[in-house]
Structures are given as structure tokens and as C-alpha cells.
């Protein structure tokens, strides 16, 4: 068929046009890669969007990473990578003889950040400290009700009931008086929610009628200055050149928000981020084999356990509790549930916490001995009971149901017939805090690295009433030790008491401690200076790129 000239032209121009278009597109894409490479920018692939940029009002790890250690400091801080406390915004602190008054002497010459939305005219002083703490403590503070008026950590750590008064002595001295001696108070002071904000900035916002900006456009004293946050996408910081501490070695810090763990891993491989939060367990092996990547691991500050309700039969019987402790084959759970990424627990405290008693011997896995013990307790043929399995996945127990099945099989060997029960998470928490269970899986991740945060909250007599002592175990000797330890500030003295308390715990066996999970971070080979934070955060002040 012969094409007419007009048709030929039509076809030709169509062809030309599409050719031209694709050539242009290719040219643009090829000539300009559309990416800037910059060695002084550190990119961290985080898992979610922060709810706010103020640790006073947030509880989630994501928000904590994005603000607590980038933008802010506290009077005292944890040394990066440890739970040791050192004076930060405070130059030094004194504790009165009655252990009730803590006097903090502030560092001079500390500057707040200068940003597009705020230029400070003065340096940090006692007014800023008072403003920050009073926002949570004093219901009449003009900022108290901003962002909802609930300060979960402040009230959760009992600070509201503990503090008698917060007073300014002079511009550089602040005194906090407690109602009763409480040694863990200092560790609480180093927690993220005790960050110091700028009063001058808050006053400016108040004048402009934009009070809620205090929690979304942060001004602090920390190593990085907040630059921009694009929702669900990216958070950018620049280095604080006037930082009072050791200055960061990178110029820009970027959080690239990537919720899916496998996509985070691909981004790491493609060089789009330098460090990823919590790689998925199935990727760990391939990370180890990537030549451009490295994997870091550390013990998590947590414990997963099986609590036996000591107020219910037959678990009120010590012999039964011991028999259960001897029946559970814990190493097999580490392999099956944690895929080997955890260590067997024998104490209620994780080994990274000071005062951990390593001399304690765990109950030996011995089915025959357990049977004898049950017979001695009056249950030669075992008994029937229920076991509540954790309905959510947590680092301290990634798969409660599967672990429940393994426990069920183990306990059947000594004649204990277990029925597995579970509820949705809120119901689970509610019913178990009221003591409706017989055996229950749960766990705890530490807040402040103080042994009190585990031993008192999870096993103290007061906590039975409060609902966080799920074994509902109240032992007067144990309780006296942990309460005495609260009133002493000397660490070596406290260590002695906590070590004794752990001996009593082991002997009385209200729980079977199962595991402490291992925390992983995957990063590019050229990342230096990153340390795993035992408290679970990601801290970037010492990071550098080679």
C-alpha cells in the first residue's frame, strides 16, 4: 500500500514527536542525576513520623530520637552508650544531707539555637529550667494545657508526687526539693522528658498567640539545630556550631522516614542512608554478608518473663513455682522465638544494668526433679491451668503465641495441662493488671537504667495495688531491700541491697525470667563513632563519616 503524502507526514510527525520526547527525557535523566552527594551529611533511616518535637509531651521512641538528643539537653545526661549520669547543662550538683534537696549549678555561656523562627537574646539561665519543669509540674503554668496537658512520663515516673518544690536560688542555681528521699530521682532527671526548653522563646510564642509551636518548632541547646520537617518524609538538622559540648563531626543530620523495614534495608544497600533503625531479623544474615555494610549489636535493656499469679492456687505454693521454673526449656525459646538474637535471662534485671547479680544460679532444666517437686507440693499428677500469651510483638517477646505453644508442650511433660488464652492488647493489660490471670507472659523495657525501675515497679508490694506487679508477689524482705535502696544515694550501698534482693527473687521464683533481647543496628561501613544506647535511643552527637 502506498501512503498518501499527508498520511506519511502525519505518521512521521507522530514518530518524530515521540522520539524527540523520549530523547529529551533520557537526556534530562542522564545529564543530571538529580542527587547531591555530600560527605558531611549523615542520613538516618527512621521508622516513623514524630508526634511532636518535645520529649515532655511524647512517649514514643521515634519522637524521642528526633528531638531529645538532637535538639535538647538536660541538667544531667546519660553518657552516650551507658546508663552512667554526668552533669550536662548543670555544671555540678549537690545533694543535701537529708537527701531531700538537689541543688543544680548551671553551666554559664550556654546558647539556645538561632533559627528562622527565633533569635535568642540571652543565654540559658535558671528561668529556663523553672519554666521547663513547671510546665509539667505546675497546673497553673500557662503552657500546662498546651498539647493536651498530659505528661505521661512525668506522671508515670511519679515525679509529680515526688517533687515538693522547684526553686530558683539565683540566675545560675536551681534547687529541687523532694517529699521523700528517692535515689532514682537523679536517673529520672537524665530522662528525655526532663529536657530544658527556652523560656524566652515560649514568651515570644505566647505574645504571638502561637503557643503550640513550642512543641513543633523546637528551640534547644543541643548539638543539632532543627531546620525543617516535611511530614512523613524528612527531618533536617544542621550542626550547632556554638554547642557547649563536643561539637558534632557532621554538618547536617537528616532523618529519612521509611516505615517499611525491608525498604530501609534496600535504602541502606543503595547508599541512600547511612544507618537504619532495627533491621528485620530475616535481613540480619544478608547484612553480615554485604561488604559495604556492618552490623552492630548490643544487649537490650529489657526482660521478657512468665509471671505466676502468687495469689492464686496452685501458684501460691513455692514448690509449684520452682517446678515450673525447672520445666521450661529456655534455650529452645531463644532459638525458636528470638531466632537466636537474645540471651537467656536468670534475673529480673538485664545484665547491662548496674547491680546485676551474676553469681545467681538459674534453675536447672530438669523434668524429673520438677515432677518430684510437684509431687511434694501435692500435685503428683500435675494440674490444669491457663497461660495468657502476649498479643503484641515486643523486642522482649516477638511472638507470644508461639512461645505459649512451646511452654504448653514443656509443661505437659510434668503433667501441667495448660490452656492458652489471649485478648487484644488493651484488654490484656487491663485484665492482667487486675490480677485475673494465672500464668502470664509480659516484659519490660527500662526507662532510666536504674535497678529501681525494674525491681520496685515490677515486683514491689506497692506495685501490686498499682497493677504493674503481675505476679502479685509481695515479699516483705524483698520489699524492704528495694525501698531502703531508694533512700540511699551511694551507688555501692545500693548495689549491695539490689544484689540481695535478686537472691530473694530467685529463691521465691515469682517469675520465670525468659530472655533479654539483643538490639541490632545496621550501618554503612564508613560510619564511625556510633554507639548503641542501652536505653534504646539513637544518638548521633559523636557520629562521623569517613
Amino acid at each position: 500500500m502506498i501512503l498518501s503524502t499527508q498520511n506519511y507526514m502525519e505518521t512521521l510527525s507522530m514518530k518524530h514527536l515521540s522520539l524527540l520526547l523520549s530523547a529529551f527525557a533520557l537526556l534530562v535523566l542522564a545529564s543530571c542525576s538529580g542527587s547531591k552527594s555530600n560527605k558531611s551529611t549523615f542520613v538516618y533511616c527512621s521508622e516513623g513520623s514524630p508526634t511532636a518535637f518535645n520529649p515532655q509531651v511524647t512517649t514514643d521512641g521515634t519522637s524521642n530520637n528526633a528531638s531529645a538528643h538532637t535538639v535538647y539537653n538536660r541538667l544531667v545526661d546519660f553518657k552516650t552508650g551507658t546508663t552512667e549520669i554526668y552533669p550536662s547543662l548543670a555544671e555540678s550538683f549537690d545533694v543535701s544531707a537529708d537527701k531531700l534537696t538537689y541543688t543544680f549549678k548551671l553551666r554559664k555561656g550556654v546558647k539556645f539555637h538561632t533559627t528562622k523562627y527565633f533569635t535568642p537574646t540571652r543565654e540559658l539561665n535558671a528561668d529556663d529550667v523553672l519554666f521547663s519543669f513547671n510546665r509539667m509540674f505546675d497546673k497553673n503554668s500557662e503552657y500546662h494545657m498546651i498539647s493536651g496537658g498530659t505528661y505521661e512520663y512525668f506522671s508515670g515516673m511519679g515525679m509529680g508526687e515526688l517533687i515538693e518544690s522547684i526553686k530558683k536560688i539565683n540566675d545560675y542555681e536551681v534547687a529541687i526539693t523532694l517529699k521523700k528521699p528517692e535515689a532514682p530521682f537523679l536517673a529520672n532527671m537524665a530522662m528525655s522528658f526532663m529536657s530544658v526548653l527556652s523560656k524566652e522563646y515560649a514568651d515570644n510564642l505566647s505574645k504571638e498567640g502561637k503557643k503550640e509551636n513550642l512543641d513543633t518548632f523546637p528551640i534547644g541547646t543541643g548539638p543539632y539545630i532543627f531546620q525543617v520537617y516535611q511530614k512523613d518524609n524528612v527531618i533536617k538538622f544542621t550542626t550547632n556550631k556554638e554547642y557547649f559540648g563536643e561539637k558534632p563531626k557532621v554538618e547536617r543530620l537528616v532523618f529519612s522516614i521509611t516505615p517499611d523495614a525491608s525498604v530501609r534495608f534496600q535504602k541502606l544497600k543503595a547508599g541512600e542512608c547511612h544507618l537504619v533503625i532495627e533491621p528485620s531479623p530475616s535481613d540480619l544474615e544478608s547484612i553480615k554478608h554485604e561488604s559495604s555494610l556492618k552490623l552492630m549489636s548490643g544487649a537490650g535493656l529489657n526482660v521478657g518473663y512468665l509471671a505466676m499469679n502468687t495469689t492464686k492456687k496452685p501458684f501460691d505454693n513455692l514448690l509449684v513455682r520452682k517446678a515450673v521454673s525447672m520445666t521450661l526449656n529456655k534455650p529452645s525459646y531463644i532459638d525458636a522465638i528470638y531466632l537466636g538474637h537474645a540471651s537467656v535471662a536468670k534475673n529480673p534485671l538485664p545484665p547491662t544494668i548496674w547491680s546485676y547479680n551474676d553469681d545467681i544460679k538459674d534453675y536447672e532444666y530438669n523434668v524429673e526433679a520438677a515432677k518430684e517437686m510437684l509431687a511434694k507440693a501435692g500435685y503428683p499428677n500435675g494440674f490444669e491451668t491457663t497461660l495468657w500469651t502476649l498479643p503484641v510483638s515486643r523486642p522482649y517477646n516477638p511472638n507470644g503465641k508461639k512461645m505459649g505453644e512451646l511452654m504448653q508442650a514443656d509443661l505437659a511433660k510434668v503433667g501441667i495441662k495448660v490452656k492458652l488464652v489471649s485478648f487484644d492488647w488493651p484488654t490484656y493489660l487491663k485484665k492482667s493488671s487486675q490480677g485475673e490471670h494465672e500464668m502470664l507472659q509480659l516484659g519490660w523495657s527500662g526507662d532510666n537504667g536504674d535497678p529501681d525501675n525494674f525491681l520496685h515497679i515490677l515486683l514491689g508490694c506497692q506495685s501490686v495495688e498499682a497493677g504493674s506487679n503481675y505476679a502479685r508477689w509481695c515479699n516483705s524482705d524483698f520489699d524492704k531491700l528495694v525501698n531502703d535502696a531508694k533512700r540511699i544515694t551511694d551507688v555501692s550501698e545500693r548495689t549491695k541491697l539490689y544484689r540481695q534482693a535478686q537472691v530473694i527473687f530467685k529463691d521465691q521464683a515469682p517469675w520465670v525470667p525468659i530472655a533479654h533481647s539483643t538490639v541490632f543496628r545496621a550501618m554503612a561501613k564508613n560510619v564511625k563513632g556510633y554507639v548503641i544506647d542501652p536505653l534504646g535511643g539513637d544518638i548521633f552527637d559523636k557520629i562521623e563519616l569517613e
Partner: protein
């Protein structure tokens, strides 16, 4: 026409009330209490729990909560997010341009490839290329987006290094938000002055994989629809007449056949555009695309009631509006319906 419009708008009201009620009830039937989720393992203290519930207004009976919600919604106040504490409307419109940009690109991708492929398959019916095209489109249609997205990332981003893995823009570029659509905002003279065409190209490169992942199913639907629609028209007597008159093959196909086959294709495209949000939920999650799909997923996980209710309502309004526009175009295209 005015009567038609009035009728359509009146029909909207019960639909929207129904949707708002449904989303309100359904999310409350899902187990999980937002307050308990916020408090986690520390939620044991009943006093703190009740106080928070009261602060969030969740202590009132469900019917009362709904009445309050609707009263405010009518005045344009859809409440505040339980998580971010910011107004739902603002949260929605901050994210909507990202979804819209991706949605438009995916549709353009589907149309630009789907229609020519469909026409080609129709004109070469029962040939090898036809089987190949239609077979591929069937595979495309049945591809799980999540899996497909990951495969694209592994091939193009990780192994070939051509496209970025996820996100909307290289993290080092700063593009001030004007429209929220990066392809437009990156052409802002100020941005060009600072970084040249870099941000625009970066935005374009970031769009490639999500566009393919999100556009694959619409592409398959458009191609199959075009094929069957064109085939039907090709059997019509006037096509035979045109051929007999010695018109060129191209002209017969594009001028006579395709134009008449267009009505069902337009309808399908309209419907696809409305349903693009279902694709957005998955695509945005894989490619960390900061749009409303990803926002809704996160809100469902957090049981953020006001966001879920507001988000679903906005999406419903969007879908209804698009369908409404399609209806109007349709009446213009087909006088019988007027």
C-alpha cells in the same frame, strides 16, 4: 441541567452521612483502645487512663460522641488528631498534594501506554502480539502491589542503581512548599536559582517507581477495556464503509474507530481515578511516599479516630466528586443521557 445537578447534590447528603456513620462505628468496633495504645505497658494506672480518656472526649457514650462530631463537621471542624494534636483538615491538605501528584502520574502512565496497547491488540486480534499484550496485562492486573513495588526497588534501585529507593526528593534539596506538588514547586525560580534543575529531576526520578507500581493495575484495566471497546466498534458497518472508501489504516483506526470507542474508556478511567486511593495506601507505604495513604495506615495502627473518620470522609467526597464529574462529561458525550 440545573435539575440534574440539584438531584445529584441532594443524593450526596445521605451518602456522606452514611459514610461518616459507618467509618465512625467501624473503627470503634475494631479492638484496641487509643488511650491504652498510647500508654502501652504503663497503662495500668486507672486514674491516668480515665483522665486521658476524658481529655480526649472518649468517655462519653458513642451516640453523643457522634452527635458532637457531626455538629462540628458541618461547621468544617473535623477534630484534632489524637496523636499529633493538630486539626485533621490541615493534616489532610498537607499530605493530599503528594497523593494527587502520584495519582496523576500513575493515570498518565496508564493512559499513555494502556490505550495504544489496547488499540494495537484490537487491530491485531488473535495474533502473537495480541496474546502477549493481553497476557501481560492479566499478569499486571493480578500483581500484588506490595510485592511488585519491592521487586521494582530491587531491580532498578539496588541492582541497576537507576532510581532512588523511596521518598519524594533527594534529602539534600530544599524545595519550599507552594502547591505541594514537587514537579511544580521545584520549577520555582528561587529553587532553580539555587540548585538549577536538580530538584526537578530528583522529583521526577523519585516518581518513576511509585508511578509504575501504582499505575500497573489501571494500565492493565485500560488496555483490556480499550481492546474490547475498539474491537466492538471495528465490527460496525461504518468502519467497513470507511475502509471501502480507501481510507488509510491509521485514519480508520484513530479517527473512526477509536473516537467512537472512547466513551466506555473514559468511564473506566474516571472510575479508576476514584479508586486510585486504594493503590495509594499500598504504594505510599512501600515507597515512603508522604501522602494520605500512608497517613491513614499509620492512623489505623494508632487508632487515631478523628483522623480515620476525617480521612475516609474526605476520600469519599473526592471519589464522589470525580464520579459526579464523569457523569457530567458523560451526559455531554452521550446526548441520550441528557
Amino acid at each position: 441541567m440545573r435539575k440534574f445537578l440539584k438531584e445529584k447534590i441532594l443524593q450526596l447528603i445521605p451518602t456522606l452521612v452514611g459514610i461518616s456513620l459507618l467509618s465512625f462505628i467501624v473503627i470503634r468496633l475494631v479492638p484496641g483502645d487509643p488511650v491504652m495504645l498510647m500508654l502501652g505497658e504503663r497503662g495500668a494506672d486507672p486514674q491516668v487512663y480515665m483522665e486521658m480518656k476524658k481529655n480526649l472526649g472518649l468517655d462519653k457514650p458513642m451516640l453523643e460522641q457522634y452527635a458532637i462530631y457531626m455538629k462540628n463537621a458541618v461547621q468544617g471542624d473535623f477534630g484534632r488528631s489524637l496523636v499529633s494534636k493538630r486539626p485533621v483538615t490541615k493534616e489532610f491538605f498537607d499530605r493530599f498534594p503528594a497523593t494527587l501528584e502520584l495519582g496523576i502520574c500513575a493515570m498518565i502512565f496508564a493512559i499513555l501506554i494502556g490505550i495504544p496497547a489496547g488499540v494495537y491488540a484490537a487491530t491485531n486480534r488473535n495474533s502473537m502480539p495480541d496474546y502477549l499484550l493481553m497476557g501481560t496485562s492479566l499478569i499486571g492486573y493480578s500483581m500484588p502491589i506490595f510485592w511488585w513495588g519491592l521487586i521494582l526497588i530491587i531491580i532498578f534501585s539496588v541492582n541497576l542503581g537507576i532510581t532512588p529507593v523511596s521518598g519524594r526528593l533527594d534529602v539534600l534539596f530544599d524545595v519550599p512548599t507552594v502547591t505541594g506538588m514537587l514537579l511544580i514547586d521545584s520549577l520555582n525560580p528561587k529553587v532553580i536559582e539555587m540548585d538549577g534543575l536538580g530538584p526537578f529531576v530528583s522529583a521526577l526520578r523519585h516518581l518513576i517507581l511509585p508511578t509504575i507500581a501504582m499505575g500497573t493495575i489501571p494500565l492493565a484495566v485500560v488496555a483490556r477495556m480499550t481492546r474490547s471497546s475498539v474491537l466492538e466498534v471495528l465490527r460496525a458497518p461504518y468502519i467497513q464503509t470507511a475502509k471501502a472508501k480507501g481510507q488509510s489504516h491509521t485514519k480508520v483506526i484513530w479517527k473512526h474507530a477509536f473516537r467512537n470507542a472512547l466513551i466506555p474508556i473514559v468511564t473506566v478511567i474516571g472510575l479508576l481515578f476514584g479508586s486510585i486511593i486504594t493503590g495509594a495506601i499500598l504504594t505510599e507505604t512501600i515507597f515512603s511516599w508522604p501522602g494520605i495513604g500512608k497517613w491513614l495506615v499509620a492512623s489505623i495502627h494508632a487508632r487515631d479516630y478523628p483522623v480515620i473518620q476525617g480521612g475516609i470522609l474526605f476520600i469519599a467526597i473526592m471519589v464522589i466528586t470525580i464520579n459526579f464529574l464523569v457523569d457530567i462529561i458523560y451526559t455531554y458525550a452521550n446526548p441520550k443521557l441528557r
